[in-house]
């Protein structure tokens, strides 16, 4: 059997040899006159080129670097070439393998072992419970290699993946260090948990990968369709991200040092009024409302530098800063034929671009394996990490530091003459709720630490070749600890007189035990099979313990321990558990190396569901046809590889709102009774329950096409998918008479995501001095709500300022913006009269459309005014190498998505004592002065600030995601330094963003704190622009 495989591989090699040889001739002849063999005085060298298994590679190109001189290997992988000098460098390349450079030196017989390129056709890709050759894949799998991850200087894997795989939308919902990153594979399929399943070295987890150091990662596979992900069953509906960490390689021991240092800043600040203009606008608002000119502030001319009231604080300058960022990583690795090892130690630290925020991660990894006989292999992957996040209050809310910086008035000083925090000024109507944002950021201490140990150990037993039994036991220990201290302070004339310390802790432990057998065999010449079966079990316990205490003797950090408080104490704790038991199976069948078939099945049992619907079965089938292997195709040398794929399957999402959705729990409430007014407990259910809840089911079909052409320099992949979430868990509005505001969760909703993913890549011939690679991807996803049970639409679960800004309706994409339609401004009284439906309006107020034409402007005239879902997202990248320089750039963009600029709602109205954005200076002040910015008024009788199309802005953007320029020291210098590799680089993240959006940052998707809202901006912490200087050193 083994012989047959080797024979087939050999045949493929011959084919590869022919292709490469022809291609070499073709490209060479197109550009220059070949001089393969030069005669004369030069030194001749012979050698052979083999693959990683020692099988000769015929047709590999061997070229002298910096020249046009070269040759190809013969049928036995041997070559002979004349060298101009001893220091000449040979560049050896072969389709599907990493290009190597060899300094010949004085040696005369060179052995070159080529390593498969990970995402090339010959390369293998990590898939669920195994590996598969790229060319044999029938599912839709995105792949990101170590090299591509390295382009970005970002702290988390999620950020490093942004824009790199079609169909995977990654959005920094908060730019706060350590903040939330939303990863959406093929759209938003549920109002519930949309996060993909992460599998880290075989360990499945839903608790994210922010603890994983990107520098430790060897590759990432993203399983997008049912064929690829059904093996993960009830957790795969949102796709699966498989992270494989680096391993030691056989050969010499290596030390790698990676280090960078730089700084970051906000890309954008918003123009707001200075104190002079603020007073001017405020007084005008009073006059416009028929009120006496507001006497409190006096003359605007008295405000500003050098005037009576010189304070003119630019709050954004006060809260934003240039913040340092640094990353240092040491990796020691090595191995032999028997064992391999890798140790790494990483330190990553940054300060946030907003004062008071920051993030630090210390991580260590130990990966190793050893064979203690030719049948047994054991190994361990273990990572330890600790992260520390300093959080500033309430990103994405009215009480956030950034929103505070936008609305605090400019005449308020950061600190007053007494050294107290600057605060509220003026009589009742001038008292804002915003607070001093600098005080908010610096004084409210909120530190969150996590300690995570994630690892697994495995035993592989291979009694005969191609038959493997593997048992793997993994354990995830994730301990989180939070400390939040709210000090006493004096701010202006108000004060906080009671300090408080809250400590939170949670322990999230999971064990997973997986046992699998796999067996590969052939039946005859044309039929290859690969089967896998297994049983897995998993158990998770989540415990929390929280406590708080009031009244500490002072505000110093040394006293921030619960025992030091003297006032009210409060505590709480919870525990919840779940367990999963699953059976998995897979069959791969390959006929004549061109007809591919795969079937997967997983049967999952989950403790989360009642006994009657505890088990679910998630099958998938897929097929592929490598048309380029057919005889009729072999005549063309334009297309080297052509594969059609199709898949269909069923997936589940068991990550629902509770571990016990079926239980009708009583909630504890309190009420004080008695002369002492002691609080006593009461019990009542506060949410309805449903014993029949089960997982959300997703049915997905995928059609794909993979092409390599023009000597495999051009790669093209296209996928079309339809992903139907059925049984989406929804709470429907219940009549209030039920005592609940919503029904229990029921499996009733349906959402369809369908889309197209395209990826294209061009790689220039690798033996030249100037090599480059350009690529891009494009994703278009259409989201459509198909069914919402008994209702046609669902309001947002969030009310902002008494209004709900989004609605989800059957037949439309989820989370559509909802409100009035603004139609310019009334220029004069005749306009008001002519419009008719806004009798109280005055010239300068907004004209709202009576959309239902009933002669009254009321709630019924609200309609859909915007869509947060992009028409498409895209990314383009280029890498180039010239001599010792390398360069890479990546663009990322989103087109056609709207953003609800919630900030306008608060900063435009003069009835609030908040600062305004500078555009208000272009307000309407008389007929013809403006048709877009309404007059300023104190009482806003026309409700100009009501939710309307005025708040909807185009959120399209194009971002220069990262740019990197590197220089590697030449071989000659390296030899003197006794260093294998030394590279310096400069790199910029988020260098520039092209957008017309007026907020801090257009990168926005899920709205924090909401299940239903997308794209609502309430002063989101923007993604930072960073600039770093880095070094890579290999010894």
């Amino acid at each position: 059997m083994l012989k047959q495989i080797k024979c087939m591989v050999f045949k493929a090699r011959i084919f590869g040899f022919l292709i490469s040889y022809l291609a070499f001739l073709a490209s060479a002849s197109a550009h220059y006159e070949p001089t393969f063999f030069t005669d004369g005085q030069d030194q001749a060298v012979v050698g052979s080129v083999m693959d990683d298994q020692g099988i000769p590679l015929p047709g590999a190109a061997v070229v002298i670097k910096g020249t046009m001189n070269g040759t190809t290997t013969d049928f036995d992988g041997n070559f002979k070439i004349e060298l101009p000098s001893e220091s000449a460098v040979l560049v050896i390349s072969y389709l599907g393998y990493k290009t190597q450079e060899i300094t010949v030196g004085t040696g005369s017989n060179i052995q070159v072992h080529m390593e498969p390129e990970a995402n090339s056709l010959e390369g293998v890709m990590v898939v669920g419970y195994g590996k598969q050759k790229v060319k044999d894949l029938t599912g839709s799998v995105g792949f990101v290699s170590e090299d591509v991850l390295k382009e970005s200087s970002v702290p988390t894997v999620s950020q490093a993946l942004q824009g790199k795989v079609a169909g995977v939308q990654i959005t920094a919902d908060s730019g706060e260090p350590g903040g939330g990153i939303a990863v959406r594979i093929r759209g938003t399929g549920t109002f519930g948990n949309n996060d993909p399943l992460y599998v880290i070295d075989g360990f499945p987890t839903k608790s994210g990968i922010s603890s994983v150091n990107p520098s430790d990662i060897a590759s990432i596979s993203i399983l997008k369709d049912a064929a690829a992900s059904a093996i993960y069953g009830a957790r795969a509906a949102n796709g699966v991200i498989i992270v494989t960490t680096k391993k030691g390689k056989a050969g010499v021991s290596k030390i790698n040092v990676e280090s960078y240092y730089g700084f970051q800043q906000t890309a954008n600040k918003i123009d707001v009024l200075n104190s002079h203009d603020y007073v001017m606008i405020t007084k005008e608002a009073y006059r416009n409302s028929g009120l006496p000119d507001d006497a409190f502030w006096g003359d605007p001319a008295e405000y500003g530098p050098g005037q009576t009231y010189p304070t003119d604080t630019n709050w954004q300058d006060e809260v934003f800063r240039n913040a340092p960022i640094q990353n240092h990583q040491f990796t020691f690795s090595g191995g032999s034929e028997i064992s391999d090892y890798l140790f790494s130690l990483g330190y990553y630290q940054l300060d946030g671009i907003v004062i008071g925020s920051g993030f630090e991660r210390i991580s260590a990894r130990i990966n190793g394996s050893t064979k203690f006989s030719d049948k047994f292999k054991v190994g361990t992957n273990l990572s330890l990490s600790t992260t520390t996040q300093d959080v500033v209050p309430d990103d994405h809310s009215w009480t956030s530091v950034l929103f505070g910086a936008l609305r605090e008035r400019p005449m308020v000083p950061v600190k007053d003459e007494n050294g107290n925090w600057g605060g509220n000024i003026g009589p009742a109507e001038y008292v804002g709720d915003g607070g001093n944002p600098v005080r908010l950021a610096l004084l409210n201490f909120d530190r969150r630490k996590t300690y995570r140990m994630l690892g697994n150990s495995y035993l592989e037993y291979t009694p005969v070749s191609d038959f493997t039994f593997k048992s793997s036991f993994g354990y995830d220990f994730l301990y989180s600890k939070g400390k939040d201290f709210d000090p006493t302070y004096v701010e202006g004339s108000s004060q906080a007189i009671q300090n408080q310390l809250s400590e939170t802790s949670s322990l999230y432990t999971t064990w997973v035990w997986e046992n699998t057998v796999s067996y590969a065999f052939d039946l005859g010449e044309d039929h290859s099979f690969d089967v896998l079966g297994g049983i897995t079990k998993e158990e998770n316990i989540y415990e929390t313990l929280n406590a708080s205490r009031k009244d500490f003797p002072n505000n110093q950090e040394y006293i921030w321990y619960l025992g030091a408080g003297t006032g009210t104490r409060d505590n709480s704790g919870t525990t919840s558990e779940y367990a999963l038991m699953s059976y998995i199976g897979r069959l791969n069948y390959n006929f004549k190396n061109r007809y591919l078939f795969q079937a997967n099945v997983r049967r999952d049992g989950s403790s989360r569901f009642g006994e009657s619907n505890r088990f679910g079965t998630f099958p998938s089938v897929s097929a592929g046809w490598i048309a380029s292997e057919e005889d009729f195709f072999k005549n063309t040398d334009v297309v080297n590889y052509f594969k059609l794929r199709a898949s269909y399957g069923k997936l589940g999402n068991q990550d629902i709102y509770s571990n016990y959705p079926w239980a009708n729990n009583l909630d504890l409430v309190y009420y004080p009774f008695g002369t002492s007014q002691a609080t006593v407990p009461g019990y009542a259910p506060t949410a309805a329950s449903n014993p029949n809840v089960t997982w959300e089911t997703t049915i997905q079909s995928n059609f794909g096409l993979d092409i390599k052409m023009l000597n495999s320099s051009v790669t093209f992949t296209a996928d079309y998918f339809i992903k139907d979430t059925e049984d989406m868990l929804l709470t429907l509005p219940a009549p209030a008479t039920s005592g609940y505001s919503t029904t229990a969760y029921t499996n009733v909703g349906k959402i369809r995501n369908s889309g197209i993913e395209l990826a294209v890549d061009y790689q220039s011939p690798s033996y030249k001095e100037f090599t480059y690679n350009v690529g891009g991807n494009f994703t278009k996803i259409r989201n459509e709500v198909k069914d919402l049970g008994t209702v046609d639409y669902i309001w947002s679960d969030q009310a902002y300022l008494g209004e709900r800004w989004t609605r989800t309706e059957v037949g439309k994409p989820i989370s559509q913006f909802f409100g009035y339609v603004a139609d310019g401004l009334f220029q004069n009284n005749a306009d008001v009269t002519a419009h008719g439906v806004q009798p109280n309006a005055e010239p300068g107020d907004i004209r709202f459309v009576d959309t239902n034409k009933d002669g009254v402007l009321d709630d019924k005239d609200r309609t859909y005014i915007g869509d947060p879902n992009p028409d498409f997202t895209f990314s383009a990248n280029a890498q180039a190498n010239y001599k010792d320089f390398d360069f890479s750039v990546r663009l990322y963009g989103s087109y056609g998505n709207d953003i609800y600029n919630g900030m306008i709602r608060q900063v435009e109205t003069a009835s609030e004592p908040y600062n305004k954005w500078s555009y208000i200076l272009n307000r309407w002040t008389g007929e013809g002065t403006s048709n877009s910015v309404p007059r300023v008024t104190r009482d806003d009788i026309n409700q100009n600030t009501r939710s309307s199309s005025r708040m909807i802005e185009d959120g399209s953007f194009l971002r220069i995601k990262n740019v990197q320029l590197g220089y590697s020291l030449p071989e000659s210098v390296l030899e003197k330094l006794k260093v294998e590799r030394l590279r310096f680089y400069i790199s910029a993240e988020n260098l520039h963003t092209f957008t017309s959006y007026r907020g801090f940052d257009p990168e926005m998707y899920q709205t924090k704190g909401s299940r239903t809202d997308l794209g609502v901006d309430r002063a989101k912490y923007p993604v930072a622009s960073s600039f770093v200087l880095g070094i890579n050193l290999s010894l």
């Binding site: 009742a428 158990e539 038991m581 002369t675 006593v680 259910p685 008479t737 409700q943």
Partner: protein
């Protein structure tokens, strides 16, 4: 080869186990199925009803809404866009979608549900698990609280769906019953409550604050008054006044202040207390009423601002003015009140807590209870009842004690019935301002449109006497249609 496969599959089989691995029960929480097994749990089920009426929207902060929509107060706060929904309610320009209506409607049905669940489950309890008297008392408490909610609902929304048991999704289409049927339902509950509740004197110290027989009678009497069933109301009012030891308090402010749980005038109140197991138990309306000023350490967000019209209603020398309203120059909490702190020049004083009485350091969490029914109200209702029964000269005996306490001249016994009505219109306004009484008095007197339109409010006669059923609720349950007249 096969040998290995069999061995391995056998090994795999050992790892499989039965489904009991997947049995995970909720930890640390109680469930409806197993609760209600003894008197303590039954009591806790009833406690939860009290928690329901103590909520933010029922008798918490949002209890200001009913007075904001009268001539007694303006909304205040940070301008029209601060609580815009309430602004629209105040201006009588709200639509049936206004969140105030939605919130109020929803909030009242939470304690109704809890009462229904408690009633159902306690009914099912046998002698072995609960003493018959205890059971009767708890059922009476639950019914009192259910009646209180329905009383507030029917006076705000008119015809109502009568929900008598915890309903399941099959009952979500319940239709509205005409108001008279709702009143009959309320009367029925209260009659049972009167039977089952303790008199205040019998209430153990630990249970102070629970509904009593006196409270049930007072509420039943009020239900009769609202239906103009004067003859039924009369004896009940007498009983409340005479049989339970309620006294007019000499300290008018004290009725509403810290420590009012033991006030002799209070018949039923909703308790607030900071610093217990949950601070939220102290979140009442105080911070909302506190002046919106940063000059003082007791500053809040300045809602429910008294109008000049209300200030002018007080007779000279009426001590209730100072006790109810902060005016320029008044001393409070060690500070001198400045009229600049409020657009109307006034802030509400009734029930306001001074800084040194804060327990949590913020004006939002304080310990004074919210008074729902008190003797002052009952005396005036008694006077009104007698007057409507053409016993005007006797009525004087019930209005005058209230006036004597207020240090204003007494009313002569020989005034006409109409004069007595006018006197009561005035007296109830100044005695009960900011106690959620004004709006409903105006409506039941049939004077709402007349009084409010005369003062420039956009009150629409035949419409604004009731709030609308929230449109969103009609959307969910079309049987709630049609909405109230002209909504």
């Amino acid at each position: 080869m096969k040998k290995y496969i069999y061995i391995t599959l056998l090994a795999l089989g050992l790892f499989a186990c039965d489904d009991s691995f997947l049995d995970k029960e909720p930890l640390g929480s109680l469930s409806v199925g197993t609760f209600y097994s003894n008197a303590e749990e039954a009591t806790q089920a009833v406690n939860a009803i009290y928690d329901g009426i103590q909520s933010y929207t029922v008798y918490g902060a949002m209890s200001i809404v009913e007075d904001v929509q009268t001539d007694d107060a303006e909304k205040g706060g940070g301008g029209p866009s601060d609580q815009p929904g309430m602004d629209q309610v105040q201006k009588f320009i709200a639509s049936a979608d206004n969140h105030i209506f939605v919130d109020k409607w929803k909030a009242y049905f939470v304690p109704v549900f809890r009462a229904n669940l408690a009633i159902q489950k306690i009914q099912e309890m046998g002698e072995e698990s609960i003493d018959a008297d205890v059971k009767k008392g708890l059922l009476a408490e639950a019914k009192f609280l259910r009646a209180l909610c329905y009383f507030d609902l029917v006076t705000r929304f008119g015809d109502l769906p009568i929900v008598m048991e915890p309903n399941s999704p099959e009952d979500y289409d319940i239709a509205r019953s005409p108001a008279p049927e709702v009143w009959a339902f309320i009367e029925g509950d209260l009659k049972e409550a009167v039977e089952g509740l303790k008199v205040p004197a019998e209430l153990p110290d630990n249970d102070l604050g629970r509904a009593t027989e006196g409270a049930a009678k007072a509420l039943l009497a009020k239900a009769y008054v609202f239906q103009k069933k004067w003859t039924e109301a009369d004896p009940l009012l007498s009983s409340v006044i005479n049989d339970y030891g309620y006294e007019l308090s000499d300290d008018f402010s004290g009725i509403f202040g810290i420590g009012n749980e033991t006030n002799e005038e209070v018949i039923f109140q909703v308790n607030f207390q900071t610093g217990g197991a949950s601070d939220r138990e102290g979140y009442n309306r105080n911070g909302w009423m506190s002046p919106r000023s940063s000059d003082i350490d007791w500053g809040g967000i300045g809602f429910m601002l008294p109008t000049q019209d209300l200030v002018d209603e007080f007779e000279p020398g009426d001590i209730r003015l100072e006790a109810s309203i902060l005016r320029d120059g008044d001393m409070f909490s060690g500070d001198m009140y400045k009229k600049e702190w409020s657009p109307t020049g006034y802030n509400c004083r009734k029930g306001l807590v001074a800084f040194d009485e804060y327990t949590a350091g913020t004006p939002y969490f304080v310990d004074n209870n919210y008074v729902v029914i008190r003797l002052g109200d009952i005396l005036l209702l008694k006077a009104e009842t007698l007057n409507e029964l053409d016993r005007t000269s006797e009525a004087v005996n019930f209005i005058n004690p209230v006036r004597i306490r207020a240090k204003v001249p007494t009313i002569d016994a020989d005034i006409s019935k109409e004069q007595m009505r006018e006197a009561l219109y005035h007296e109830r306004r100044v005695e009960l301002c900011f106690e959620q009484k004004r709006y409903f008095d105006l409506v039941r007197w049939g004077k709402a449109a007349e009084v409010l339109t005369a003062k420039g409010y956009s009150f629409v006669a035949g419409k604004n006497e009731l709030w609308p059923i929230p449109q969103s609720e009609i959307d969910i349950n079309p049987n709630l249609a049609p909405n109230n007249p002209n909504w």
